[in-house]
């Protein structure tokens, strides 16, 4: 049995085009954790991530014949991933109804950490509230701003990589990131 793990991405694509399922599965195993992770972080939902995962790889499978090897396979794959994330309507996301108002008149309780022996359940609640506030702030960003922000801060991609994935210029990515950072600084300044 042929060892596909030593083949390059391009060689695996050629094999996969000949209906070699093993070649295709070897190819997508190289990158599927990252695809799943990007989708899961973007939607904060494993179920939405599963939907996106299916759609991405089915599109890639169907598009293999037209792949012209002008770019890296991974570049194309992650571009499809961001595109599917941006167009997919989240169905399973849990929404936490927490206030993120930065107003001075905000009457939400201030966060104080107490000693762990005294208040373990309270500590958990505070951490959960903080997480909810941060997630709500990120969710309030426009989709492309949110995607650019997550790719930069959570997945640590460079701006030029994000530009390729989102199929836009580096200037546009910077614009998304500047706006996202300003909005989050404003919304999260009480934390």
């Amino acid at each position: 049995m042929q060892d596909f793990s030593s083949l390059s991405d391009n060689d695996l694509i050629i094999e996969a085009r000949n209906r070699n399922n093993t070649a295709f599965s070897n190819l997508f195993y190289r990158y599927d954790k990252k695809v799943f992770s990007i989708a899961a972080q973007y939607f904060q939902s494993s179920d939405d991530a599963k939907d996106v995962y299916q759609e991405v790889f089915i599109r890639v499978f169907k598009g293999l014949k037209k792949f012209e090897f002008r770019s890296e396979f991974s570049t194309w794959l992650f571009r499809v991933t961001t595109n599917v994330c941006l167009t997919h309507k989240a169905q399973y996301k849990k929404f936490q109804n927490v206030s993120i108002s930065p107003d001075e008149n905000d009457e939400s309780p201030k966060i104080e950490l107490k000693s762990s022996e005294e208040n373990e359940p309270d500590n958990q609640l505070i951490i959960s509230e903080t997480k909810g506030k941060i997630q709500s702030a990120i969710d309030s960003l426009a989709p492309k701003q949110r995607m650019a922000f997550m790719l930069k801060h959570i997945h640590n991609y460079k701006i030029r990589e994000i530009a390729k994935m989102m199929k836009c210029s580096e200037g546009t990515v910077k614009k998304y990131l500047f706006i996202a950072t300003d909005k989050l600084r404003l919304k999260l300044k009480t934390i």
Partner: protein, 312 residues
């Protein structure tokens, strides 16, 4: 203007996106600037806050299930492809004359039907579309259930309600200027952004709100479409020249990769405006640098001309 440059570099520095020379320049600046050091601390805090609270472990079970489902789907697709290719092979190699005749007849019928729908039915369809658009007032999207207790008949939902708004008026109107200013920054379609700038240019005279001017400046400096940047610059050149516009023109002259736009910027600084407005040290330094280093000889000459005028 000088410090504004460092404010832009600050965010890129926090993301480790500056080149080595820029990084060194910024670090030297930061040694003497409390404001930038404080802002950098804020950005680091924001980054830490997000990454410690949002980063999660990969759900291995969900990933495993996804892989299994995908493999099943791929096998199913491959089976269908195989069956289809066998049928196609059968159909495309007819062995008898009667089968060939049947194909020809079927092709004619299909072509006729397609032509009928395109030529005769499309006008009806257009009319129907017009009526449909007229009926829709607003639409609901992104509906999500937050908490629901269907047994009690209680639901808590959140949704976006999008209502198209039609406005007719003059570009001098404050409300219209507000909408246009926002569109110039946010709209993703460069054609729409261009039309927005043209709408502003259609206004005779130089009465323009600050909000509008700032939107034009942002478009001129940061829009990724050179056509939009050019039109924004045209609009700004027609306004009353001030320090803000001057600084924006200098930014374009220094940073825009498009030589046509740099030429337009330097022309705007020279021809249309009072030279007294461009005597600040930063502008003079930029002009000197352009005179020596710009790759475009027209810009070098123009910079030299302006500097000569200033000296006299």
């Amino acid at each position: 203007m000088e410090h504004k440059k460092f404010e832009e570099m600050l965010i890129l520095y926090s993301w480790s996106e500056l080149k080595k020379e820029e990084r060194n320049e910024f670090e030297r600046h930061m040694l003497g600037c409390d404001s930038c050091r404080n802002k950098l601390e804020e950005l680091k805090k924001l980054h830490d806050l997000v990454t410690t609270n949002i980063t999660e472990e990969l759900d291995e079970n969900a990933l495993f299930e996804s892989r299994q489902e995908l493999l099943a789907e791929i096998r199913s697709l491959n089976r269908k492809k195989f069956q289809f290719s066998r049928i196609w092979e059968y159909l495309t190699t007819p062995t008898s004359g009667s089968l060939r005749f049947a194909y020809s007849l079927a092709s004619v019928v299909i072509l006729f039907a397609v032509g009928y729908f395109i030529l005769f039915k499309s006008t009806d369809r257009k009319g129907q579309v017009t009526n449909d658009i007229a009926k829709v007032e607003s639409s609901i999207t992104n509906l999500e259930f937050i908490n629901s207790d269907f047994e009690k008949g209680e639901v808590e939902i959140v949704y976006d309600q999008i209502t198209p708004v039609k406005v007719k008026g003059n570009v001098n109107d404050a409300e219209i200027q507000k909408v246009l200013a926002q569109s110039l920054i946010d709209n993703e379609n460069p054609g729409v952004r261009l039309k927005t700038v043209s709408a502003i240019l259609s206004e005779k005279g130089t009465r323009t709100s600050n909000m509008f001017k700032e939107a034009l400046i942002k478009a001129m400096m940061y829009d990724d479409n050179p056509g939009v940047r050019k039109e924004a610059m045209n609009a700004l050149c027609n306004l009353q020249f001030d320090d803000q516009i001057r600084d924006a023109m200098i930014h374009v002259l220094q940073n825009d990769k498009n030589s046509g736009l740099r030429i337009q910027a330097i022309n705007c600084l020279d021809v249309k405006n009072d030279l007294q407005k461009i005597t600040d040290p930063n502008t003079i330094n930029v002009l000197k640098k352009k005179m020596e280093e710009d790759e475009n000889s027209y810009i070098k000459l123009r910079a030299k001309t302006i500097l000569t005028k200033l000296e006299s």
